[in-house]
Symmetry: C2
Subunit: 150 residues, 2 copies
């Protein structure tokens, strides 16, 4: 089925000088055939039949490698702490890639996106969430100063 994508992915890995181990091959193949955006633990459990001695660390290592090569995207939910916000009105957040600062940002509600999503996916949408990422003014200034002095 996705044999082509698998071969392409392996070529990409080889071109990046990444070794093709059986475990790595299996993680990649599993991800390519999966439609459900599995967690690291999902993958670990799915492969433990074939690789009874495989360590969780191996799954994480391979996911990191695949991400670095650009073959896999990570949807982070578990890499930092929850944030708490007293502003309970609808708004979005813009987050600085450098210093982590979170700033509120208002924009008219994207009802249109919700409506289209309902049509396409059959979901009954309750709400949505959006975060913008970038570099805040302060960090931009610091960046410029570094370039000057450096």
């Amino acid at each position: 089925m996705s044999e082509n994508r698998l071969q392409e992915a392996i070529s990409t890995l080889k071109a990046s000088g990444v070794r093709i181990t059986p475990q790595r091959h299996a993680v990649l193949e599993y991800l390519l055939n999966s439609m459900v955006h599995p967690t690291a633990d999902d993958i670990y459990k799915a492969l433990e039949g074939k690789f009874p001695n495989m360590s969780v660390a191996t799954v994480y290592n391979n996911l990191r490698v695949l991400r670095e090569v650009g073959l896999v995207r990570e949807l982070t939910y578990g890499d930092s702490s929850s944030r708490f916000d007293c502003n309970t009105s609808d708004h979005y957040h813009i987050i600085c890639n450098s210093c982590g600062k979170i700033v509120d940002f208002h924009y008219p509600s994207l009802d249109e996106v919700e409506a289209l999503a309902e049509q396409v996916t059959g979901f009954k949408v309750s709400h949505h969430r959006m975060e913008l990422y970038g570099e805040c003014e302060e960090c931009q200034k610091e960046e410029k100063n570094k370039q000057k002095s450096g």
Copy 2:
């Protein structure tokens, strides 16, 4: 300054039958005066001067109570695992509130939102991320079946 908001919030708590303890009062006050969307640990550290014996659990308990009453929103980043996705093209995700299933969803890039955000906040935006939440078709059906049989 935000003395009014504090009094309002306390009224809301009392109306919900929630006790006003010194620790709870402090957490609430800190959140109302904070503009940076603090983590639970931020709050814990900020209050340990005033309450040297306070437990982290107290902070978490109070944040949960404040959330349940609707005074606080939680931006979850740390409540579940990362998800991994082989589809590295731009797309959004729609997530089922009941079963947790994640489905890809395509929509024209929201360049307009990014442009406005740059103007308003001064950030240099690199990318954005959006998730829609709702109930998938399967879970909607199950819900209907329950209502019939129940």
